[in-house]
Symmetry: D2
Subunit: 277 residues, 4 copies
């Protein structure tokens, strides 16, 4: 039986010795470990196989004392290829298609449990992959009702929400109530172009590189912890259509990496930033 332990705590001597000693004494075998220290904060992720008689629950209970001693924020999880993920989309299909395919190929450790959209357009795509599709329109002035409906569909049923080009802003109340991490993908440029129609403005400014950023969603719009980023070179020869096409290719790959890493418990969030092991 394989477990994954993630730890974030103040840095001080003896953490690794304590954790590895604890696991060794219990007969667990560390098969992979990553750690990082900023001198102030200490980050650890390890994968271990338990001894025959042991269980995650037993280990979790026994680890409490060590965790308390070092003031750890920690979590202990198990790989689970059936982990349910909720996908939110609007009208663009590139991220949705890409994620559905990666779930099917087994690249992503989980399953697409449902798709929720404020538009009906992509119902065929989801259902063609055997995934239930829920059309929850967001009518002007009635966003609260829409979010309430979405919460019914999601809460307790998914362990991760992925905004696969979902173009509505989620309220702080929704983010709190949904009780699962929410990943988002958005375009990003050097320099940044906030606001509408960014590709046209990037073109007008003659940018030479465009990119995309995957991040956790927090109350502050587009300011949540960054999980991954990537870029591509562009030139004056690229039209707005070209930028959008190139942008789509970056977005789907960056979002897929973020989802993959999240599902493999590789991401440690520490305030405004992530450490990805």
């Amino acid at each position: 039986m394989t477990i994954r332990l993630r730890v974030v705590c103040p840095d001080r001597p003896g953490i690794v010795a304590a954790v590895s000693g604890f696991l060794f004494a219990r007969g667990a075998n560390i098969v992979h470990a990553d750690q990082h220290s900023t001198q102030e904060r200490f980050f650890l992720r390890l994968v271990a196989t338990l001894s025959d008689g042991d269980s995650p629950e037993g280990l979790r209970a026994a680890f409490e004392e060590t965790a308390r001693r070092f003031a750890m924020e920690w979590s202990l999880s198990q790989p689970d290829p059936t982990k349910p993920v909720g996908l939110l989309v609007s009208r663009y299909d590139h991220c949705l298609l890409d994620l559905l395919w990666r779930f099917e190929t087994g690249e992503l450790e989980g399953r697409a449990a449902l798709v929720v959209s404020n538009h009906p357009d992509l119902a065929g795509v989801a259902e063609g992959h055997g995934v239930p599709y829920h059309h929850v329109p967001v009518e002007p002035g009635r966003k609260g009702a829409a979010e309430a409906h979405m919460l019914e569909l999601l809460v307790g049923r998914v362990e991760l929400v992925v905004l696969a080009r979902y173009m509505q802003i989620l309220s702080p109340e929704f983010l709190e109530a949904v009780a699962a991490p929410v990943l988002n993908i958005h375009h990003s440029f050097l320099p940044a172009f906030a606001g509408g129609d960014p590709y046209r403005r990037a073109l007008e400014r003659g940018v030479k590189i465009i990119g995309a950023t995957a991040h956790y969603v927090t109350e502050e719009l587009d300011a949540g912890p960054i999980v991954d980023q990537d870029v591509a070179r562009v030139s004056h020869r690229d039209t707005v259509d070209d930028l959008q096409r190139i942008g789509r290719d970056i977005e789907r790959v960056v979002l897929a990496r973020a989802v993959k890493w999240h599902l493999e418990d590789r991401i440690l969030v520490d305030g405004p930033r992530t450490v990805v092991f």
Copy 2:
């Protein structure tokens, strides 16, 4: 004799035929040409060798009529490996060293005519490469006097000014009076971090990519036409020192490319953007 012709004008039928027909009739041979159209604007750069009896002056006078007909902004130049370039620096030496080396190897079509700095630190570097170094301190409240001194050193003596990590903001009056294009390099991130200490803030935010942008300097700070950009991946393992080191490596290469392209007359500026051929 080789000439370079750059043209920006409203797009309409017949421009290429008119220009190439003009050159062919005059016995000039086009050895390289690039053109681009946004449908509204037309951009052309071509390199041609003149016929034996012809001269750039003669060609220039004869081309006036064609240029007027198409409402062209245009320039006709000749390659000149002795084109004088003024380098402005503060304390960081990486861009200065890199440019001096590239001038010496012949990579850059020009010569380092002088170095101006608000600090004395890099005098040895410049003079070691045989380039005069002028220390023009910028004292609080006396920036006008410093800029006046710099103008004396630069005006009429250089055809390009390169801010090779010059950390003072140049006034609109200086930019107008210097009467030469000014290239600058600055760091850039996804998302952007304006203001001080950007590498520390990028680290705190956990960015995964850092970059640099070379641009022409205009009155609006850091908003001039972008010439080139590049990036590198970073991770939580990189310290602020690492980010600065990696940033330096990007900065010097991006700035060198911008200087090279400028000196080869490859850059066509059109309002807030560039077309680089």
Copy 3:
């Protein structure tokens, strides 16, 4: 009516003037043009709109004289969003899925006319996108028969053949008889690993970058003109599975770019190399 003209010929004075003068005299308007010269060889691609009374056939006939004068290899084509493309696959679906999606979104100027495979596995994928699927097994010692069958399916019915991870080597006879360009995608590494199981060997050698190359297929295996390449960084932390996954992401994007450029008549082949405009 829009036409595209591609020209490769020995470089000498007057080509551009002749071509643009010819088009201007005929009332055609050049909307886009790219040219390149190696001093020995001259390359030109231009897009023009014809005058009202003109036709591609008329232009073609009239251009013959100019083409002969400069010893041009040339072609004149028209954009055609229904251009039929044949896709050959084996068992990997990532390139096939990606191309089918791009045909549907209109990114690619053409249509998937049929899929041919030496395995039955991907029939559902093709048919789910409304594209006929032909299973042509290649039995040991009976490759000639299989290729004959494939030629029946392809010859005269497709204008481009794309090997979207088709794992059989095509005979020189097939390549000649198919009478359409054939594009292929294969992995590539620094340094190269020819032969079987390249990802495992790349891992054992500790490569830090993997890549993919799209190229035209010629008689000499994997040595045809390169159309595009791309790479990604990898590390010791990546397993063979990771390398394959990352490799798939590169392959599908690089192959899609090559197909897109081919269908837009952007690629000029000159012996062992391409110029992509």
Copy 4:
């Protein structure tokens, strides 16, 4: 006092617990650690500060028993900014200049102890940086004598040899006798072009990406463990000169990273490959 411990050994349970427990018991504090397992092989690098009364020698002696128990290949080192490095060059100066600058800025944990060259050309460069320059010509048929002379200059005087574009092949006897690791940089392409004049051949083949590989030198030419690689996009617009210039920019950065990582004891060599922490 800071030490670095590097370990490569067969993977089995208890290694981390044993090492971290050993260090904790001795009062040492782990400030940084990286580990990696291929399931068969285990790799560990850690940085620790010793307790006040402890010494590297004491730690080394005490660790012997643990090392033996797990059949470790291991080394224990200390950061030393004066570590002597020997640089071998021929005529190209870009890597030499770059390394000398990085030694001076403190980016590299060591010092340039001497430069050896088979040409006299770069004497001024080395001496301008205060580094002794030894001209050891390699005459036809007298390579053994040249290598013997170089060994006199290097053996026991440097802890690392860097071939900063040294164009002579070193004999197996030299590599054995020099008794220090030797790092090299060479161009690399997709696909690879072995043999002479690679940039011209890459251009003729129309490659779209060029690169460079830093590796340890072993008896088998250019087949030693890869330390780092990087690439840049090129196009038909780039001449052989451009490819060489772009190649130089890649080479100096990749070689500098390899030297930096080596001097910081970040590289663990395991047969034909490296793990870089």
